[in-house]
Symmetry: C2
Subunit: 428 residues, 2 copies
């Protein structure tokens, strides 16, 4: 039996989950890995906040340096959630030769390259399975199990909050604002929902997925990002009629040495496995040049699913403790010439819903405008007797730049009341 | 750059896939793992069969001992497919201190305990990701990523042939025999389809999944097994009406220290993620006590998906070459008192379709019989004007032994023409 001392930085929802899980499954972990985890020190910002966890317990400290200085702490688990302080603490832990496990996706998306490089130079491990899709073990799969593949694309539903909102809007035909409020009441959305709703969280995760999957160093700033605030029940209904469901997808795809990186609401076919991912569930769909299509599905958040990934990392790190050639999860590889593809050069099909005055000839004028810009149409729906009326187009695949030109030209058509929505369509 | 010499035992569909994949993705593998794989020797049963692969190439041998004796072969990859000879070769490779990668599920289900135990004693690695669900990296997930969990249940669609047959029967309302013939013509089913259709292949895979997941040594002989030959379009149609789809599921579940192990056609709800797994695709659905529900989906067979898992194992083994504490995939753990649950004690809901003479009172007599045996009913369908008429019952959860008693008693009811089908229902 190998005893491994760990230190927790942070004792919020996930930190407490880790603490509970280590107590609950200790026997199983010992049986399967021969490792006994012992929490040596827990850093908390404020002792008083520790009510039921017996704040006076000597294991707690309000000085994070205590973890670094404690020689019995071999693995530091960072679960504080913010960026600046987490970065400082992890640097200190790596400098002290300790392995680090973190769930901090924003930190890794912004400073992952610098941190994994430092870990590599120091000959210690930095693992972060929980940072993407919570309990779903997709990073180990990308990095280890699929190492014989060239990854062609990664598409993920990696934000539970927005997936919950879109699921409820679809099932109940509700407005975005109403569902957001419900999600906030249920604790599925933050009081300030920006990080989720605007796609920042998904873009952080995509940065990590793409860096590992394409074995390059993706910059968070290169990820195109669009949130779900603009999605309406009307669009969801038209999507359904056209055979699609709307999901916030994080998409990374390699095209002739360039990598497209984008997070936006996307229509995907009803029968695609990703379309069946409901509520707060996450899924990551990967295409490899040998394995073909794979999908990983599960809970992307929550104390215990996240703790499952964190403690899994700790056990795997413990099994490799002291090895300078332990498996690496690098985010700093120069890129083998792989560059981010400029968004205007990406290719997609589009759903375009216009509000137009219901006058003879208007459909023809708009269709002609699409054609002049080189955008060819797959289908058109005009329905109802309202005035203005919704006119819905789905295009064939086209370059983003051509679609933008078409939209600009359509905006000059007299009968146009508004460009109500433009949503990308993936036929996968 | 670390050069690793490998030897292939067998050069059929998967062996050739491995050979192709190593050539095709060599650069990617070197970039991501720093390892260069070199095929040193390939054992073939018959040189002449090697047409396009240049049978005269000195890399080929018809003497498998050449691989074992070749000091440049550090990892032996067994892809012969049969059991007795594969067993002999792997024993010899382990004796020679070589790591072994295999895709041979029948071998592992029958002799895995003896082989993993020997590997452990010899301090070498025996890896077999490709043996279950082809390219889907579910074994590494169960063994490493999910090591912080107590696994509660594993349910898999792990046989592509039967899933293809059931999918086609469902979509096209065709008979089993017709679809089997079509599958044979397309190469999805063997000339002798017994291993697939009778559930042997799925039972082999379940033996491996359950041993790893529950960290015990499951005996293949303990797996209850029922094939899909008895499934009719009529049952598929009734299932659909009741909200279910029929899949051949491999189920392992821990109940108070006992493990139930069964492979049989199962009705699962339409909205369950497993119900959406179509054609030859595979999926494994895992429930862990921390992570909750997870599903792994992808291609369970085919040369390249299988090669993806084989070569992934080779790369991971290469990264741990010579380590006596490399990750282990043991199939020989005594079991911590976990025993297989006798089938008659397992609990399930059941779909029962009877053919009865359409006479007043018959429904009452049969319902009473169910009740007398302690089997309570969830729903009943009686439809149509045929004589005999189909009478369909779905029971609440009941012990297998009670259901059997009910069926025996129903067989004595005068109006009964036949017990047309009995299919288990999982509400998951």
């Amino acid at each position: 039996m190998k005893k491994i001392g760990i230190g927790l930085l942070g004792f919020g929802v996930v930190g407490q989950g880790v603490w509970k899980l280590i107590r609950k499954n200790q026997q199983e972990m010992m049986n399967s890995s021969g490792i006994q985890l012992e929490i040596q020190t827990i850093y908390v910002r404020d002792r008083k906040a520790r009510g039921e966890w017996s704040a006076e317990d000597p294991v707690f400290t309000t000085r994070w340096q205590d973890l670094i200085e404690n020689e019995d702490v071999e693995i530091v688990v960072e679960l504080m959630g913010d960026v600046a302080m987490a970065r400082e603490c992890i640097h200190a832990a790596l400098d002290a030769g300790k392995d680090v496990v973190t769930a901090n996706k924003a930190l890794l998306a912004l400073h992952g390259a610098e941190l994994t490089q430092k870990a590599e130079r120091a000959g210690v491990q930095l693992r972060y399975e929980a940072s993407v899709a919570g309990g779903i073990p997709v990073l180990q799969a990308l990095r280890e199990s699929l190492s014989a593949n060239r990854i062609e694309s990664i598409m993920g539903i990696v934000n539970g909050t927005t997936n919950y909102i879109l699921t409820r809007m679809t099932q109940e035909k509700l407005n975005f604002e109403d569902v957001l409020q419900e999600a906030q009441e249920k604790g599925y959305a933050e009081a300030d929902p920006t990080a989720d709703v605007d796609g920042y969280d998904a873009a952080h995760k995509l940065t990590i997925l793409a860096s590992l999957g394409f074995r390059t160093s993706v910059q968070f700033q290169q990820v195109y990002r669009e949130g779900i605030q603009g999605i309406t029940p009307t669009d969801i209904e038209f999507a359904d009629e056209l055979g699609y469901r709307i999901k916030l997808l994080a998409i990374a795809r390699e095209n002739q040495g360039q990598i497209e990186l984008r997070v936006h609401p996307t229509m995907i076919p009803h029968q695609h496995p990703l379309a069946a991912v409901q509520d707060v569930f996450n899924a990551v769909y990967v295409r490899g040049n040998a394995v073909g299509e794979l999908m990983f599905y599960g809970q992307g958040a929550g104390d215990m699913p996240t703790a499952s990934a964190v403690v899994g990392d700790v056990i795997n790190a413990a099994g490799n403790l002291g090895r300078t050639d332990a498996p690496r999860y690098p985010l700093h590889i120069p890129g083998n010439g792989k560059q981010a593809q400029p968004m205007e050069e990406t290719v997609s099909a589009y759903y375009v819903r216009l509000l137009v005055k219901d006058i003879p000839g208007v459909l023809g004028r708009i269709a002609t405008t699409f054609g002049r810009c080189g955008v060819s149409l797959l289908s058109v729906i005009q329905k109802g007797e309202t005035n203005p009326v919704s006119l819905v187009f789905v295009t064939h695949k086209t370059k983003e730049v051509a679609l933008h030109q078409a939209i600009r030209d359509i905006q000059t058509v007299d009968e146009l009341t508004a460009v109500a929505s433009v949503i990308r369509v993936e036929d996968l």
